[in-house]
Subunit: 204 residues, 2 copies
């Protein structure tokens, strides 16, 4: 059905167009079905995802943010080692209902049975993960993991909930030095009760 020999355009131009359109339709469905890796974080207006001591107390909770719906979009979470250790200290290990991958060359798998430690070949691991069926993949943080994965072209979207605050220092959204990354604004939403503005970008 999808054989397109070189003579078909001459012999039957209408059929050639139909075949190409079918192939494009399938390609677009395939593209839509590939799981995206999405860096979705809260950040201050000056570009930090945590304060100088890892503080998150400046992150406002707006009653209109639908965390349930957000969590529903993902089934897998990617976490950098430092962020994971911060979460572990706070008594938070794997996220409930999510497959959790922690990127670390030093943590040992048997110490953390609830998560999968990825010690090497991060890109290959993610490429094969993306090829499996499933929901989107949440790049939860931190900034160093984002920098590494973005540098390998593995991040599809950057989604920042900009909090109405200047934190003045801390863990950057993207720690310097990093390469320049072009973005395309694909959506935004204002949360009027708190002044959070959520920005969605596609990585170019």
């Amino acid at each position: 059905m999808f054989q397109l020999d070189s003579g078909i355009i001459q012999r039957n131009p209408g059929e050639a167009v139909r075949v190409i359109q079918s192939a494009q339709f399938l390609a677009s469905r395939w593209e839509a079905s590939v799981r995206r890796i999405r860096y979705a974080v809260a950040a201050s207006l000056d570009g930090y995802i945590a304060g100088p001591k890892g503080e998150a107390d400046w992150i406002v909770m707006d009653p209109d943010v639908d965390f349930g719906a957000l969590f529903e979009e993902f089934d897998t979470v990617l976490i950098g080692r430092r962020t994971f250790e911060g979460m572990a200290r706070a008594g938070q290990g794997a996220l409930p209902g999510m497959k959790t991958l922690v990127f670390s060359r030093t943590l040992r798998q048997h110490d953390y049975p609830d998560v999968t430690i990825v010690a090497e070949k991060a890109a290959e691991t993610l490429e094969s993960l993306r090829a499996e069926p499933g929901k989107d993949i949440w790049l939860f943080g931190g900034g160093l993991l984002f920098r590494s994965l973005a540098g390998s072209g593995l991040v599809d979207t950057v989604e920042v909930a900009v909090m109405p605050v200047l934190v003045g220092g801390g863990i950057p959204l993207l720690p310097p030095p990093a390469g320049r990354t072009g973005l395309e604004l694909t959506g935004h939403k204002v949360y009027g009760k708190t002044g959070i503005i959520s920005l969605q970008y596609k990585v170019k």
Copy 2:
């Protein structure tokens, strides 16, 4: 007319309310007439106002941004020494039609006759400038001047045109370490042609 002795509320409640309302009206007019110091800049999503080498080539020009209207809101510009030297190197001295104050302890006034060098008592200078009649005052940059003035409670608004790009390093919007500053989102505008999103905040 604005004497409000302690007995008036008992003697003539209606008159007391009228007096208070008049005073509130005048107070609100006075507040509106005070010139605001506004930090209005373009920044990358990761919080830089210039690239690692001072680059501004990532700043997109959207045809729908009305720079004429923006310039009309100001008659005075505040510039830090480094930003001014960058502008001077680019052949740009004072901004046309604006009173330009450059904050520097090292530049000499007679070398820069088109601008006013403020070497000391920045806060006092700005307090008295603000008390004069005039339009709003544009804190043009850089980040160090903003940090210094914000630390003295002298900045009224932060207005950021967020460019759709991660620059990866450079001159921060607010160089760390800085104190935490609460903000109130007062407005936003999306420029659809380029994906710039302009955010206006009042400093709390």
